[in-house]
Every structure is written in structure tokens, then in C-alpha cells.
């Protein structure tokens, strides 16, 4: 340990009285740290959730096709998705780290796993709920199997499938906050840091409010999308 000339310690300034005394909500902190803390966390969170739901949708769709075609697969796929869902997210993230490291990939694998339960169930249930007579009538009119699927079964199953997408999206946004236990990204990260800093209220409220707002916005947008995709069901529907 070589002695060097003493360092210059710059004046780091003082926190506002609100910040120093851990007031309930310090707007000055929010304004000051929007760009370096809150906004990046929000963007990361949106990315994590978007990728997870997109991949989950694709996988669940393929699984649903398989489960539909080979009905014997339905139960095992269903149980597997159910089981994935009961693994506490706190644990699943940690369990994947030795395999895929402290990376976005690890988080995505976990998030996608959790979407599969809802997405798979809703896709299968939606497609199975199409009345047999409707399918027969379509086949009878000369539609091929594929045409029947694309033009009759899918549209009829859309409300149920979209309901699943809504639930999956909202729960992904929620679970992604826990990803901060292994990866310093997303809105969960400021919350964990703030908890450790003598429960810094402002940061917790700010990041938490953003997470709730993100979740509500996503749910609302998907609700609009659902209505746009199913114009023939424009009556009052139970949400």
C-alpha cells in the first residue's frame, strides 16, 4: 500500500431536507433522478416484459397446436405449465444463474416460463370451446382443415386468447420486478436499493407507481386491442 498524495474530495452538495429526512415523497429527488434511475429502469422493464410475452405467445401457440392436434399431449403440457407457475419466482431466477449467468437471457427464460400457464390454457380452452357444429358446418361448406382453423376457430377463440394475453402481460410485469434480485434492471431494482437505504420512501413510491402505471396501461391497451380484433362481439362483456 503506497502512500499517495491525499485525494481531492469534491463537495458533493447536500440533499434537500426532504431527502435527508426521508420525507414521504420528495419531488426534487424524482426530478433529479428521472434520467439516471427511473427512466432507464422503466425502459428496461418494458423491454423485459415485451420480449417475454412475445416469446411466450409464440411458444404457447405452438404448444396449443400440438395439444389440439394430439389431444393426449394436452394434459402433460398443461401440468408442466402449472408446475412451472408454482415455482417461486424468487427461486427460479437464482436457479437459472449457474446455467445462463447473470444476464437478460436468464430473466427471460424465467419470465417466459410463467406466461406459459395462462397463455397455453387460454389458447387451448378458447379453441376447444368452438362448438363442434360450427366446425362441421365450415368443413361441410368446403373449407379445408387449415382454412377452418384460420377463418373460424381462431377468430372465435380470440376473446379467450386475448384475455390470456392480458393476464400474462400483467403478471409478467409484476414478476419482472422480482428479477432485480439477480439482475440490476427493471423497476424492481430501484425498489430493492431503496429498501436497503433505510427504506428510502420516495424511490419506493416513484418506482412502484411507475410499475403500477405500466401494468394498468398495458392492460388497457390490450383491452382495446381485444375489442379491435373482435368487432362482432361488441356487447357488454364481463371483463
Amino acid at each position: 500500500m503506497i502512500a499517495a498524495s491525499p485525494p481531492v474530495i469534491p463537495n458533493f452538495g447536500q440533499g434537500s431536507p426532504c431527502e435527508v429526512n426521508n420525507g414521504t415523497f420528495c419531488w426534487d429527488w424524482v426530478v433529479e433522478h428521472w434520467h439516471d434511475t427511473l427512466w432507464p429502469a422503466l425502459v428496461q422493464h418494458i423491454e423485459l416484459a415485451l420480449i417475454a410475452v412475445a416469446i411466450g405467445f409464440a411458444i404457447a401457440f405452438l404448444l396449443a397446436l400440438a395439444g389440439l392436434r394430439y389431444r393426449v399431449l394436452d394434459a402433460p403440457i398443461g401440468y408442466w405449465a402449472d408446475f412451472l407457475y408454482t415455482i417461486p419466482s424468487l427461486a427460479l431466477f437464482q436457479l437459472l444463474v449457474p446455467f445462463t449467468g447473470i444476464t437478460v437471457l436468464t430473466v427471460e427464460i424465467a419470465l417466459v416460463s410463467y406466461t406459459l400457464l395462462v397463455l397455453y390454457r387460454n389458447m387451448i380452452d378458447g379453441l376447444l370451446a368452438v362448438p363442434a357444429e360450427v366446425i362441421e358446418s365450415a368443413r361441410g361448406s368446403g373449407f379445408t382443415r387449415t382454412q377452418t382453423f384460420l377463418r373460424v376457430e381462431l377468430p372465435l377463440a380470440t376473446p379467450t386468447i386475448m384475455a390470456g394475453v392480458r393476464i400474462a402481460t400483467v403478471s409478467t410485469i409484476s414478476i419482472a420486478t422480482v428479477a432485480a434480485t439477480i439482475l440490476p434492471q427493471g423497476l424492481g431494482y430501484p425498489i430493492f436499493i431503496a429498501l436497503r437505504q433505510d427504506v428510502f420512501k420516495t424511490e419506493i413510491f416513484a418506482a412502484g407507481a411507475l410499475a403500477v402505471a405500466l401494468s394498468l396501461t398495458a392492460d388497457g391497451l390490450l383491452h382495446l386491442l381485444e375489442r379491435a380484433l373482435t368487432p362482432w362481439t361488441r356487447q357488454v362483456r364481463h371483463a
Binding site: A4, I9, G15, V20, A54, V97, Q197, D198
Partner: protein, 309 residues
């Protein structure tokens, strides 16, 4: 039946949605794998930090100094305790992190504490070198665990040194989860000071000071450079038997990465370490923990003021 254009619209919407979903998914997956699979000329320094304020500051200091010197840095903050981050570096998930020399010797290598700070550093370096790692220069400042409590509690119990706690019939002691098993923490308190009546309270995400303020614990594991200790509200009991060891900071780095990175790498890091004195660390810890500045901004300010960036 359904009007033709409605069916077609739904079909088109589905195709588009599925296509977009697949596209987003593939791009996302490709982006994250590409980021980890690119072949590099100079190695990427993957810096990890432990899970408390001082480590965030140290991490940012080294990160920004190295980036300023032209190195590519990947930053993984808040990995966890020494035991966890040690696994991370030996399994190659990171290749650089700031560690406390006493923790290496006593808690990771499970050896007894040497008698001086220099001896502790040498022992730590020797041990890490048997594992494909090594230490760069140590900092002037040290930050050891300490036995902290509210000043009012200390007055009420009439205790000044840790040994004085023997007369207290039972008390609770809070610490990070690993404290329970460490000779530089609760284990040492029980075995070396004989404080077997101590009951351990595990911290998860909340700080010791919160628990002390709320009266939930008698005492807790605090760090000697915590800015909260600057005032009179909290007191630290004297460690007469020196169980907390010598705790200067030295960056642990993967030997291979060190040799591949070239001589500038060690120079830059050591230059930063040399400037980290106790007053400097306390000032930076205070700025982050009390004044709620971000570790990145505080580190940037310090590096700039000392021409290290």
C-alpha cells in the same frame, strides 16, 4: 355466418400479431446472445459488486476509470455477499470485483487473522493466486464490521467494549445472512468473546439502522465507514480482541484477464485505489446514503476532481 372481410381482418390481425411476436422475440434473443458472443480484441472487464452502498461506489469508481481509459466494461451491480460473488468470479460470470482483505482470509479461506494489515493483504493475495485469481493494490482505507447500537441503548446497558456485553442477559444482533457463519461477525462474537446469549436476526433487504431505529434489535453489524456513524445517534463498541480483522479493499481480478488486458489496466485501477482514503469513502458514502445522490454521479465527481477519468 361471418362477413367475409371480418374473418379476413381477424385472420390478418392474427398473422400480423404472431409475426410481430416472433420477430420481437427473435430480435430480443439474438441481441442478448450477440452481446455475450462477440469476439473481442482486448478482454471485456466484467465488474461485479456486492450488495451495499460502499460497493456500489467502488464499482462505479473502477468502472468509470477503466471506461475512461478505453476499456470495455460490463457492469453487474448488486450480486450479493462475498460467498455468492466469489462463486460468480470463480465460475467466470465476472472477472473483477472489489473485496475486503480480511474477509478473504477469514471468511473465504477460513484462516486465522494475521496481525497486521499488510500481512492480511499478503495472505489474501497468496490464497487467491492458488485459484487463478489475484489482487491488485489495496486501498488506504479500511472498512471493518463493527458492533453498533443506539447510543441511548449503550448508555442504558452501560457498555463500552464488546466484552462488556457479557453482562447483558440476552440480546438480539442483526446482520446480513452470512454474518451468522462468519468468524468476522456473529460466529466470532460467540466463540471469541463468548457472547453465546446473542440471538441472530437476519437482514434481508432492510438496513441495520432501520431495525435499530424501530427498536427491533439491541445491536447490529455495522460498517466502520457508514455515514450514519458520523453523528452521535449510534455508537460502536470497541473491538478489543480484534475479531473484525483488517479490512482494506483490494480488487480481485482473474489472472488471465489481467495479463490479456495489458499494463495500463493495473495502472488505472491502482491509481484509483491509491486515492481512496477513509475521509474520501465516508464523504462518498454520505453523498449516496444520506443525500441520495446516485453512486454513478458521486464516482464521476470524485474521479474528475482527482484527474482519474
Amino acid at each position: 355466418m361471418f362477413r367475409k372481410h371480418t374473418r379476413r381482418a381477424a385472420k390478418a390481425a392474427y398473422a400480423v400479431s404472431l409475426g410481430v411476436a416472433l420477430l420481437i422475440g427473435l430480435i430480443g434473443a439474438a441481441a442478448s446472445t450477440a452481446a455475450t458472443a462477440k469476439p473481442q480484441a482486448a478482454p471485456t472487464i466484467v465488474i461485479g459488486t456486492k450488495n451495499f452502498t460502499e460497493e456500489y461506489v467502488l464499482g462505479q469508481l473502477y468502472k468509470q476509470a477503466l471506461e475512461g481509459a478505453g476499456f470495455k466494461v460490463s457492469y453487474k451491480e448488486n450480486i450479493g455477499s462475498s460467498e455468492l460473488i466469489d462463486t460468480a468470479i470463480t465460475s467466470g460470470k465476472i472477472n473483477f470485483y472489489p473485496e475486503y482483505t480480511g474477509v478473504i482470509v477469514q471468511d473465504l479461506a477460513h484462516k486465522t487473522s494475521p496481525k497486521t494489515a499488510a500481512a492480511t493483504y499478503a495472505a489474501a493475495k497468496k490464497w487467491e493466486q492458488t485459484r487463478g485469481l489475484t489482487l491488485l493494490n489495496a486501498t488506504p482505507f479500511y472498512d471493518s464490521d463493527s458492533f453498533g447500537m443506539l447510543t441511548s441503548t449503550a448508555k442504558k446497558l452501560g457498555v463500552k467494549t464488546i466484552g462488556d456485553m457479557k453482562k447483558v442477559k440476552s440480546f438480539t444482533f442483526a446482520g446480513y445472512p452470512e454474518c451468522d457463519k462468519r468468524i468476522t461477525c456473529l460466529l466470532g462474537l460467540k466463540q471469541i468473546y463468548g457472547l453465546t446469549q446473542a440471538k441472530f436476526v437476519q437482514l434481508a433487504s432492510i438496513s441495520v439502522y432501520t431495525l435499530l431505529d424501530e427498536g427491533k434489535i439491541t445491536a447490529g453489524d455495522v460498517f466502520s465507514t457508514d455515514p450514519q456513524l458520523a453523528g452521535t445517534k449510534y455508537t460502536v463498541l470497541t473491538d478489543t480482541k480484534h475479531i473484525f480483522g483488517f479490512q482494506n479493499v483490494a480488487p480481485v481480478v482473474n489472472q488471465k484477464v489481467l495479463s490479456e488486458a495489458g499494463p495500463t489496466f493495473a495502472q488505472v485501477v491502482n491509481a484509483v485505489s491509491a486515492k481512496l482514503t477513509i475521509p474520501a469513502m465516508i464523504a462518498m458514502n454520505k453523498a449516496v446514503a444520506i443525500d441520495k445522490a446516485s453512486p454513478a454521479a458521486v464516482a464521476a465527481g470524485f474521479l474528475k476532481a482527482n484527474n482519474l477519468k
